[in-house]
Amino acid sequence: MAFFLETLLGGLMAGMLYSLVALGFVLIFKASGVFNFAQGAMVLFAALAMARLAEWIPMATGLESRLVANMAAFAIAAVIMFLVAWLIERLVLRHLVNQEGTTLLMATLGISYFLDGVGQTIFGSDIYKLDIGMPKEPIMAFETMFEGGILINKEDLYAALIAAVLVALLSVFFQKTATGRALRAVADDHQAAQSIGIPLNRIWVIVWCVAGITALVAGMIWGSKLGVQFSLTTVALRALPVVILGGLTSVPGAIIGGLIIGVGEKLSEVFLGPFVGGGIEIWFAYVLALGFLLFRPQGLFGEKIIDRV
């Protein structure tokens, strides 16, 4: 039982990391109907930026404090992500405004390759450590309830906390601020939003910036846990089923979908894996998403897709 709970918790933590990446997908899709295949590349790019900057800043300025160096690195990385967002809107999205979904999807695929190449050229392609001061030791919880207690990773707990704060901030942003309202209007109906004077292009830059920050936070947490390396981009591929499950237009869906996938992967690997030779994690998320696609394409919380004749 304790083992089951441990696996469950481990799955929840892993799932939460997926949710962070999925959040970026949902944000961009909600506001512009574009599915951003490049989200994973953005996570890697942001993580690389922050990791290398955290190295270079102390070297360049002789700063001693790790915390200040990290904060500066975060800030500069955020600015870099703003720049990336602005460039993507300017150079790519603006020219593809009326194209259909598949064209935009393939364009974001191209962007992801481009970002991968540029990121590695500028920042390097080794594995980099990203030390943001996360405690690495695990703690034993619930020792009174279960014999020996349950192993919980402190780092994962902090990550969950950061993710929760991010989601809360985003909710406040969307619900309470004027920009957030405008974003929701654009997500609802581009033309109507335009006709009341909302500047579409600027809104899209803002959305991609927010997605960029989300990517940065996700990259920071992933990078701290696993080290910053090229394989981070495959994480994005794992996050795709999350948005299918949760619904492409739902922020809570991204969170819950991520948790379900995380738990499902871990549990199926541990309990079903031995029967089929292991490695279920490779396809579990996708086959689950496939099931949803066949019976409930809009996911758990998304809006139904309607085709007008």
Binding site: T102, M106, L109, G110, D116, G277, Y286, L290, P297
Partner: protein
Amino acid sequence: MFYRENGQFKTSYRADQQIFPIAQDRWAVLALVAAAFVLVPMLASDYMFRAILIPFLIMALAALGVNVLVGYCGQISLGSGAFMAVGAYAAFNVYVRVPGMPLLLTLILGGLCASAFGILFGLPSLRVKGLYLAVATLAAQFFSDWMFLRIKWFTHDSPSGSVSVSGLQLAGFPIEDPISKYLLCLSVLVLLALMAKNLVRSAIGREWMAIRDMDVAAAVIGIRPMYAKLTAFAVSSFIVGVAGALWGFVYLGAWEPAAFSVDQSFRLLFMVIIGGMGAIMGCFFGAGFIVILPIALNQFLPVLGGVFGISISTAGIAHAELIIFGALIVWFLIVEPHGIARLWAVGKQKMRLWPFPH
């Protein structure tokens, strides 16, 4: 003034409907095919065969399959690598388990298995399209990755996880040296390309394009979306499966599942986008581009770097490849969504009028 159609009248529908209605085109293509069969084996070096020509031919074939599905029928597919894998492993199993199996039959059976796999994973296309379909095809990709990694039966219980074939022969002639491998691939490509071209200009091709352009209207004029989409998946996967079998048997010789990973799927999609979606010619342009680019970069970039005093590592070249691919995909999608094939067609139009501007 060389490319005129003056004097070329068509007096029958048959003549009007042929694949190359302009005589100059017909001669050019026949000459090209003849040169490919006769001249190239005489002139090309072993390196050219191994590194450029053979991969080009097989990739062009795979791109042909992907184009049928994505370009003509409008069903996005990110799982082509999986179809190649099924073709390769199915052919492998037939080859090693059935002694004396003729090579062509092996390839065909590999294609048919890939076709069945394609129909199965094409079923979601009846419910969803666009991004959602892309996710479904990715499911096929990752499932296939796992299948050939973990299920021992597929790899004939190979201890290392990789498989190999040897001793290929066609009707008694051994297929060992580069020239015979090249001719085998070329023949398969020409045959399947011809059949594919026939399909896309027939009723089924029109059904595919109707589904691509507007599937609701297609249903109303009596086209069955299910039949059209599933046949697109079937035909496409067959071609891609045969290409996969050739890739494993002829090009690689020995392979493991990673040879058909999601990167391969993306590469094929890029070939189709850059080369030209919905154009058979596009497959050749796209495959040529993607096969030659890394080699060109390998030769060219260090030289360029030397001019500026920068030394470029192999990793740097790999990154440059990513940057150029990505940029080109975006550029083509913005400027010419129909790829190089459209640029080629426009160029030919201008040639027909030259030296007049319009």
